[in-house]
């Protein structure tokens, strides 16, 4: 399981873990029933405080994306898939915010952005 964290990101480490796991669920790289590494193992892999991993797992459990099973650790919830659509849109909304903010800084208006999106969509299809 490929999770990467960076201390240079400006985003708290536990959030980076949560975001990446959400993304993996949304893109089907992680599927319901699949096990996540135990807290200690992931902490060692990423070289971070185990409490940070524990927190990420706790928050994911609160979101209903993972479940803790007695004796077998943490795994992706069966109910995770229906939420995937919501998570996907949330991730894309963040990307949209970045794009819109940058456009504003550059003095490019919304119409130009929409036109750009159409153009790129066509380019990518070909």
């Amino acid at each position: 399981m490929q999770i990467h964290i960076s201390t240079k990101d400006g985003i708290p480490i536990y959030k980076q873990i949560i975001n990446q796991i959400k993304y993996m669920i949304a893109s089907r790289r992680l599927n319901p029933g699949e096990k996540l590494p135990p807290v200690r193992k992931l902490a060692e892999m990423l070289l971070i405080n185990p409490n940070t991993v524990a927190r990420a797992y706790r928050d994911l459990e609160t979101l209903g994306l993972v479940q803790t099973r007695q004796g077998s650790g943490v795994c992706i919830s069966e109910g995770a898939s229906p939420l995937a659509q919501e998570q996907k849109m949330k991730i894309l909304a963040e990307r949209a915010d970045s794009l819109l903010t940058e456009a504003q800084q550059m003095d490019i208006d919304l119409e130009q952005i929409i036109a750009l999106l159409h153009e790129r969509h066509i380019q990518l299809q070909s």
Binding site: T7, K8, D9, G10, I11, P12, I13, V39, R40, A43, E44, L46, L47, I48, N49, P50, N51, T101, Q105
Partner: protein, 302 residues
């Protein structure tokens, strides 16, 4: 139920005319991983030496496990694992001999743990310490600090001068130690990336004074780094509440502020300015900002 493992109250220390520590107050609960950061000469090593009972408090108190390390050296030191960049070890001994020698002083020595560390670090215990590479020396030092399962670990620049591969090994061993219950860790390091990864509490020392002492989470949420874009260029730096550093201009200013985000946004609005690239500063940014910010505070020094 948490104990106070280290309690330092109003600690002062001078070396001749130089004040190394000035009214230092610190309380560390069991299970904490404290990141001790500061420039070279800020007082970090001096502080750690007080915890080890190597220095006597000139004024103030030092208590480790509730005891004065000067008065109860055996009881305190037998429960502390210490690793510094000095790695002062008997050069003529083999690793095995050094282990046997050390074992005699520590009744809590765990042979299984020691053997596990030997294989984790890929050490050949028949090698003489003088023939070890820097990385192997550091690992040996770490092995000897961990094998008797100390309740408190004091690391003073453990990774200094080591290549990235060895640093990762050492950090891995530290992470595994943290995962074991009840251990308390003090990590003094200027490798802020490592500190950010493992510390849950940060204590910043500058010129012998504690300039910041907070849980990591609180630090991340109280400091903000961003670019302020004014609607018109200006010669003088803009001012926002809690501002620590402000660079750039005349229209775009890079700032670090210690203030809640809504106050910052409100003030920015008041200046007809925009905030972009809002992020949590790294520990490095915060440290530099605090030190620079300190410099600009004209507080009379007592």
């Amino acid at each position: 139920m948490s104990n106070t493992i280290i309690e330092i109250t109003d600690l002062c220390r001078r070396f001749g005319k130089h004040t190394a520590l000035n009214q230092v107050n610190l309380r560390i609960q069991q299970g904490t991983v404290l990141g001790l950061v500061g420039e070279n000469g800020a007082g970090k090593t001096t502080l750690i030496k007080h915890m080890l009972g190597l220095f006597k408090a000139q004024s103030g108190f030092v208590r480790v496990f509730g005891m004065n390390p000067i008065q109860h050296p055996k009881e305190v030191l037998s429960r502390i694992g210490f690793l510094s960049e000095d790695r002062d070890m008997p050069e003529w001994m083999t690793i095995k001999q050094y282990m046997t020698y050390t074992q005699a002083f520590y009744p809590t020595w765990d042979t299984a743990c020691a053997n596990s560390l030997i294989s984790q670090f890929s050490l050949d215990t028949s090698q003489k310490i003088k023939n070890l590479s820097r990385g192997q020396r550091a690992k040996t030092g770490l092995l000897l600090a961990l094998a008797y399962k100390p309740d408190l670990l004091l690391f003073d620049e453990p990774s200094s001068g080591l290549d990235p591969v060895v640093r990762r090994d050492i950090l891995g061993a530290i992470v595994r130690t943290i995962a074991e219950e009840g251990r308390t860790v003090v990590l003094s390091s200027h490798l802020l990336d490592e500190v950010e990864r493992v510390a849950d509490t940060i204590c910043m020392i500058h010129q012998g004074r504690v300039i910041l002492r907070n849980p990591m989470e609180q630090i991340r949420s109280s400091f903000h780094k961003f670019t302020l874009i004014l609607d018109a260029p200006t010669e003088t730096r803009p001012t926002l509440p809690g501002m620590l550093t402000c660079e750039g201009g005349p229209m775009e200013w890079s700032m670090v502020c210690k203030q809640d985000i809504s106050s910052i946004k409100q003030s920015a609005q008041g200046l007809n300015a925009q905030i972009v690239d809002l992020a949590s500063p790294t520990l490095d940014d915060i440290f530099v900002a605090q030190v620079k910010g300190q410099g600009e505070n004209t507080e009379p020094r007592t």
